[in-house]
């Protein structure tokens, strides 16, 4: 019973952990406040917020929250409400959404657009048009002033935030310099805004391209480019790789050398005990009785005691007799045998 409870607990913890990890891989990737050229399905150019799934698995972002309320406000709201009731944070965020639909947008459930494939983007339009579909948020952004946007997960925990500067002009976007969150931010869970990771883009060059729904930086396999340029002969890769292969197998060698010594040492000790025990018993046997039958019985007992007998499987089987079956009752007799090749030597 305890085992079952333990296994269930492990399964639940594993499921929760994986879920939380997945959501944390979402991030805000690019924002445009005064849109001049990226039209939605109705042909309207409104402000937009691009999210990016930086993980290598599909993320369902339904029930996540996008808000323009600052982090301090939300935290204070949580503290205030939690002192009054024991409501969970996602419930509190839902209540906040109901009170301030022009500031909090909850991504609806059940839309295929909310299943974000690995390493892909999704663009939400900040047009306040709640009847236009899942990708249209209930709030708008304000041109010419600072815009704060935050992404909260289904549990009400902050996933990512950005402060779009007031200086952002029409036709400019505020974008991450490279795709997704820096790897160290994934680990420590610190998703607070870091201005050094962001830049203003105006579409004047490839580097400054405005890229809703696409990669901010054209993906290149840096490793291949690096090895092609810096290790044209392949000698360094060879040295490094052989080093790793040797090191891995060398460590295995050392470990199993030690294991071998340890286990053969145990065997030796056992053997010594056995060899010590044997003559004493033999002397005892010969000393007490010279009878041949007694000696034989003692030897047999010792033989069994030292576990020197053959191991039996202990499995009883029946030997089927094929002759008893007729061709009518046995499929094996009806089918042809598989052809086998016999070499003529």
């Amino acid at each position: 019973m305890n085992k079952k409870i333990l296994l269930t607990l492990i399964a639940v913890i594993a499921a929760l952990t994986s879920m939380a990890q997945g959501r944390m891989d979402m991030c805000i990737n690019e924002v445009m406040v005064q849109n001049g050229n990226c039209a939605d399905q109705n042909g309207k150019c409104t402000a937009w917020v691009e999210l990016f799934n930086s993980s290598y698995g599909t993320n369902a972002i339904e029930k996540m929250f996008i808000t323009t309320f600052k982090q301090d406000y939300i935290q204070n709201y949580f503290k205030d409400q939690e002192s009054k009731s024991n409501k969970k944070r996602n419930v509190l965020l839902e209540e906040l959404r109901d009170q301030n639909p022009d500031k909090v947008y909850e991504i609806p459930r059940g839309d295929v657009d909310t299943k974000i494939k690995p390493r892909t983007h999704v663009v939400f339009f900040a047009d306040g048009n709640t009847t236009a579909g899942t990708l249209h948020m209930s709030f708008t952004l304000t041109p010419g002033s600072e815009n704060y946007i935050a992404l909260y997960d289904v549990n009400g925990d902050l996933v990512d935030e950005v402060i779009v500067p007031a200086s952002l002009q029409a036709g400019q976007s505020f974008s991450r310099k490279s795709e997704g969150l820096p790897s160290d931010m994934h680990k420590d869970g610190n998703h607070s805004f870091d201005p050094s990771q962001w830049e203003t883009r105006d579409g004047s060059s490839v580097e400054k391209a405005i890229t809703p729904g696409k990669f901010n930086v054209r993906p290149v396999n840096e490793n291949i480019a690096k090895f092609k340029n810096e290790d044209g002969t392949g000698i360094w890769l060879t040295i490094m790789s052989m080093g790793v292969v040797f090191l891995a197998l060398l460590l295995l060698y050392i470990l199993f050398k030690l294991f071998g010594k340890a286990f053969s040492g145990q065997g030796k000790e056992k053997k010594e005990e056995e060899t010590v025990a044997e003559p004493t018993a033999a002397v005892a046997a010969t000393g007490s009785d010279d009878n041949d039958e007694a000696i034989a019985a003692l030897c047999m007992a010792l033989y069994q005691h030292l576990n020197a007998h053959d191991e039996e499987s202990g499995v009883l089987t029946f030997d089927h007799s094929h002759e008893a079956h007729s061709a009518w009752g046995s499929k094996g007799n009806l089918l042809l045998h598989m052809p086998e090749r016999h070499d003529n030597h």
Partner: protein
Amino acid sequence: MVLLNIAENLEQFWHFTGFYNVSLSPESLIMLCVGLFFIYLAIKHDFEPMLLVPIGFGILIGNIPFQPGNEIGIYEEGSVLNILYQGVRQGWYPPLIFLGIGAMTDFSALLANPKLMLVGAAAQFGIFGAYMVALAMGFMPDQAGAIAIIGGADGPTAIFLSSKLAPNLMGAIAVSAYSYMALVPVIQPPIMRLLTTKKERLIRMKPARKVSQTEKIIFPIVGLILTCFFVPSGLPLLGMLFFGNLLRESGVTTRLAKTASNAMTDMVTIILGMTVGASTQASEFLTADTVKIFALGFMAFIIATTSGVLFVKIFNLILPKHKKLNPLIGNAGVSAVPMAARISNDQGLKADPSNYLLMHAMGPNVAGVIGSAVAAGVLLGFLG
């Protein structure tokens, strides 16, 4: 009017047939001959029949000319062959084969004499030697890495890595790897004889100690943790290999081990061999790159065999007299289980009819399987 309709229908049917379409792609006839040759080698000369029969027949399947657009071909989305091919394309089959290999392999020979692991490591130089030559021949680093893995003499590993690094070359790489594995008895012995003296071939190795069951159980667990901490990119292969071995050695999952090593491996081998063969369509396969890949694969096998044998000779310089290794087991480091170990044994018996090297050679042989999977992980880590 009716006659005209019949004529039109017959003409339409004619355009649908292989006889008409072969005139549009006559090179498929060459591939059909290659397929027939593989089947001949397998049945007549017993060259890796378990692999060459499915691959050879797959080549026939993949090169029957047809009119595209009917969801028939292996590259046509939605076709049955295409669905089966996804296991190769996405790299699902090789780890399953490794599960079976793990469940079949007895690592006792290696555990009894763990220094043989280093021989398995040394033979992986075949991979990286071929990598350097491939770069010199103008291949990109990722393509060179995918081609070089042929030197590991391990078909599933070659398919796994090429599906990740150079999917367009996978057919040629897989066929090359399996072809040379079948030709190991032809390629290796001359190199082994050339690199060893009569005296070295006569070296008798110390009989292996008995390995306890506990050691055998610990090995897959420690082996997995250690190797995959070094190369997590090798996890699909190494994870399945060691998992299969634990199923075998634990003693409590005999039924699972039997299924993994027999029924499952057989099923995956059939589908893998057939789809790899079918993927070698003439338009993809008959290129100058394929010729280069075959040349590089041959070179990789030679380098791997040479480095394994030479390593044992060098290793002998530091080993005490009673612990010296017979250099004839060096070739077995190229995995190709158990063919390479059998060759060591055959060559040993030729030099001394009472010197059986088979069990000694199984050590580097199974170490080669681990070594080539680690090498694939390293290449994937650097170039993936």
